[in-house]
């Protein structure tokens, strides 16, 4: 019995290692939901997509303005988003608010590694070139900029190559 327990723990820890480097949730939901429960994420995604377009944060022009310090707009958007996000996270932590399904909310953060510096700089280059981070790529394609499909495929290729050479990179 005890050996089974140990192996399970090890497995979870490996999982944690893999996941803590990523944006994935570290905790797994123990609850099983029917597939259509995912529609809630579709609706959230639709609202986010509309927001990205109407705030014009998907615009290459706005990104150029931001990096050239020619407009406050992007700083206002990101700054106020972080303010609202931080207050929400504080409230969730402070009052131990649970999900709509009654599960505890886990807010374990990402640990620092050198990838955040090197990868961050590389992403910064790509962001200024394409004028888009990953979210806007999806929104722009929906918005009718079909050639952005190529940018998205390139970014998938970039992620794939990162996975391939990951062990050789400093972290």
């Amino acid at each position: 019995m005890s050996s089974i327990k140990t192996s399970t723990t090890t497995e979870q820890n490996t999982d944690f290692e893999v996941r803590s480097l990523d944006t994935m949730c570290i905790n797994d939901s123990a609850l099983q939901h029917p597939w259509w429960y995912n529609i809630k994420y579709l609706i959230a995604g639709i609202l986010f997509g509309i927001l990205l377009v109407k705030a014009e944060v998907v615009s290459w022009f706005r990104i150029q303005e931001m990096f050239r310090l020619q407009s406050f707009h992007m700083y206002g958007v990101i700054g106020s988003a972080v303010m609202v996000g931080a207050i929400s996270v504080y409230i969730i932590k402070r009052f131990k608010i649970k999900t709509i399904h009654g599960e505890a909310i886990d807010l374990t953060g990402k640990k620092f590694n050198k990838g955040q510096i090197y990868g961050g700089l590389i992403f910064g280059f790509g962001w200024a070139l394409t004028g888009a981070c990953p979210g806007p790529l999806f929104a722009l394609i929906g918005n009718g900029a079909t050639v952005v499909i190529v940018v998205l495929l390139s970014s998938i290729a970039g992620t794939w190559v990162y996975g391939l050479v990951r062990d050789k990179l400093p972290h």
Binding site: F48, V57, V58, Q64, F67, M83, V161
Partner: protein
Amino acid sequence: MQFQQWISQPWPWYISGPLIGLMVPVLLLLGNKHFGISSSLRHICAACLPAKIPFFQYNWKKEIWNLVFVTGVFLGGFIAATWLNNAQPVAINPALAKELSGYGITNYSNLTPVDIFNWANLFTIKGFIIMVMGGFMVGFGTRYAGGCTSGHAIMGLSNLQLSSLIATICFMAGGFVMANYILPFILTL
């Protein structure tokens, strides 16, 4: 009709920013999910071409919510273009407009400059660097950094993570160097 016209204008930062920030608690409350987009690219790799690479060996189906979410972002972009479009050119800083006109970028009818982002341009050096290499750096860099603007700059900073602050500073530093010192050269190609 009046409402549709009103809502179809670009939304000011003090409306759109806080609403974007609300994505953080919404996803946490809906199902304990951390707001982040770039991991969807990893799940697509894991689902379509894992190629025995350890980084892609995990049960991506557990993360299906993230793929559903980005499908929603795509649909949101479509909805905004179809029903919430005021068909006005993007209003930008005159100093930037002046500079860009020097590179032949004069069309502001779309959110992306069609003078650069068009299919024919894919086969020019300038277009290839901006679209193909730029996209590659977005995918490679975000995964190397462990997140993008949503995962680090918004979710991570909201959670007061030092790692996300460092990542965000590096995003901005990389973007500053590219936009001010390298991109002007690329645009002349």
